[in-house]
């Protein structure tokens, strides 16, 4: 990984005991902020990114030179309005955009960690990011927001720090990774491991990258982010720059070409080992088990106002799994709203221009900010 400029980093001195048993300290946590923190320090929103996201939520990502991953939702006048709110986002630990991850050097061996990096969990990610509150002098966040793995971090955050956020918006997520979720992640990991360049994770010392394996992992995952209907409407059986089938294995179909492109651009910005670590963290996520089978107990101490959002065509984290969170919250009388947004864009809907979603997100945030939140349980 190249040395990246324009990356703000907080060195977390406080020791953090990871779920795997190891303790880390003095580790870097890369972050970005948008908007400004008001005098009362009550307008901060912590955004959690998904598997392949990073801290560059909106505007032009200074590393990839592309639009930030949540440019549709975050920015001036947008759903998460940076004229109004102070938006903070950190690269998760285990990631590859400046935060402590497998592409960092192990100070003891002076070698890149690779697969010697400790296995991290969603819980570890959240416990690392809580340090940002002290850093900015924020007692209580106005909101914690995230989609997909970001949503899992929202749930874990509220569970760990029940009084650190006024509102919580988990989007298109789950409280427990399903067998199907794990299966797709394993497919990605095995694609990376099958690339000879991976070298059991030690590719950095050899100056090579398992780009083919990582690209296949991305291609497979990308399919799970879209819906069958969405794919059919966008690509159908359309051919790629040709009039007829070529009776070979080039990309005859547009969908093949599209996936290959998605794979190829991904390897330029993402580290293969980080992909292994972060997918592992998602697979290990089971908030139900953390609370001995009763998800409600995860939320019994919080007064946060929840707003849960799912999408009709999301088959990766389907509505029912989101509703299970609503049910668990209602069981302890938490303040929870829920809406399922109609969209053909699959799991990726939360990242895309889906007006009903963007409207709901904006309305919830702005109304909650405007009024004194009813911090009582039913």
């Amino acid at each position: 990984m190249n040395i990246k400029q324009n990356i703000k980093t907080l060195i977390v001195e406080k020791p953090l005991k990871l779920d795997c048993g190891q303790t880390i300290n003095n580790f870097p946590l890369a972050y970005e902020t948008y908007g400004s923190l008001n005098n009362e320090k009550d307008n901060a929103i912590l955004v959690f990114h998904a598997l392949t996201g990073d801290q560059f939520v909106t505007g032009i990502n200074p590393v990839t030179k592309k639009d930030g991953w949540w440019s549709y939702a975050v920015g001036s006048g947008k759903s998460i309005d940076t004229d109004k709110y102070f938006v903070i986002c950190a690269n998760v630990i285990g990631g590859c955009m400046g935060s402590f991850g497998p592409s960092h050097e192990n100070p003891k061996t002076k070698k890149i960690y690779g697969t010697d990096f400790p296995v991290i969990t969603i819980n570890d990610m959240v416990n690392a990011q809580i340090n940002l509150l002290d850093f900015f002098g924020i007692k209580k966040l106005f909101s914690v927001v995230g989609g997909s793995m970001g949503g899992m971090q929202v749930l874990q955050f509220i569970s760990n720090y029940p009084d650190k956020a006024k509102t919580a918006i988990p989007i298109a997520c789950t409280s427990s990774h399903s067998a199907q979720n794990i299966a797709f992640n394993e497919l990605g990991r095995q694609a990376i491991a099958a690339d000879h360049n991976w070298s059991d994770g030690d590719y950095n010392s050899k100056n090579i990258v398992p780009d083919k394996g990582l690209a296949v992992a991305r291609m497979a995952a990308h399919i799970t982010y879209l819906s069958k209907k969405g794919l059919q409407e966008k690509f159908g059986r359309k051919l790629q720059e040709r009039d007829d089938l070529k009776f070979g294995f080039d990309a005859d179909f547009q969908i093949e070409s599209y996936l290959r492109y998605q794979g190829s651009v991904f390897v330029d910005r993402f580290d293969a080992n980080s992909y292994l670590y972060i997918t592992r963290a998602m697979d290990y996520f089971d908030l139900v088990k953390q609370f001995n089978g009763n998800l409600s107990d995860a939320f019994k101490n919080t007064k946060a106002k929840f707003f849960i959002i799912s999408f009709t065509s999301d088959w990766l984290y389907p509505t029912q799994e989101n509703k299970d969170i609503v049910i668990a919250l209602n069981a302890v009388g938490a303040n929870v709203g829920f809406v399922e947004i109609e969209s053909d864009k699959g799991h990726d809907s939360f990242l895309l221009n889906v007006p009903d979603f963007l409207k709901a997100l904006k309305n919830f945030l702005d109304k909650s900010y405007a009024e004194k939140i009813h911090e009582t349980r039913i």
Binding site: V326, N330, G337, F338, N363
Partner: protein
């Protein structure tokens, strides 16, 4: 589902509820009643609504609403979660009104149920003279496209309370925007002239 809420109905429901009460509005529509109860009774109020569009309207009003079907999604609430559960002009639209009533009384200590009265004289005359399924201001649908599959009269609802065994604490009829008590001696009259029946019920 189209509902013809009348202003007096809000007022009557609001009068039945104590200040600061925890209330669930089942089939909360665009949240008008929720807002009314929030403003007038400082109610800690939640809603459940089947229509995505209506849920969006509620969110835009800053109301806490869950998208869901009351027939299936009430079961997520623990027993006695709310002091009051309100079901405004929706009972007739459920496949199984009996289950819904039982769920309302499980989730809430008390329930307030309002029903458009199918025993109203205009409905009766409509059927008597036209010989077709009645269409009125509060029941604007044809028989084949109406969401109201289980219409009942005020008298039916009173009988229903005896059959499935719940207590009617208070029963009111709305006639030309005036509210009046229903009792055993005037039931026949109220059932003929009441446009809406409003019932405060308990297990």
């Amino acid at each position: 589902m189209q509902k013809k809420f009348m202003k007096p109905e809000y007022k009557i429901i609001s009068d039945l509820i104590e200040k600061d009460a925890k209330v669930l509005d089942v089939g909360c529509d665009d949240g008008t009643l929720m807002e009314f109860l929030k403003t007038n009774k400082n109610a800690n109020i939640r809603g459940i609504e089947i229509s995505k569009e209506k849920v969006q309207i509620c969110i835009a009003k800053g109301l806490t609403v869950i998208e869901g079907n009351a027939e299936f999604d009430l079961k997520q609430f623990p027993n006695n979660s709310f002091e009051y559960v309100v079901l405004g002009q929706t009972l007739q639209a459920f496949i199984n009104p009996e289950t819904v009533i039982r769920e309302l009384l499980r989730v809430g200590n008390k329930a307030i149920v309002t029903i458009p009265n199918f025993g109203h004289w205009k409905v009766r005359l409509n059927l008597l003279f036209k010989g077709t399924m009645p269409i009125t201001n509060s029941l604007p649908h044809d028989w084949y496209n109406t969401p109201n599959i289980h219409m009942c009269t005020i008298k039916d609802f009173v009988r229903f309370s005896k059959i499935i065994n719940f207590k009617i604490f208070k029963s009111l009829a709305l006639i030309n925007e005036n509210v009046s008590d229903i009792n055993n001696s005037n039931l026949i009259f109220k059932n003929l002239f009441g446009e809406l029946g409003i019932f405060l019920i308990e297990k």
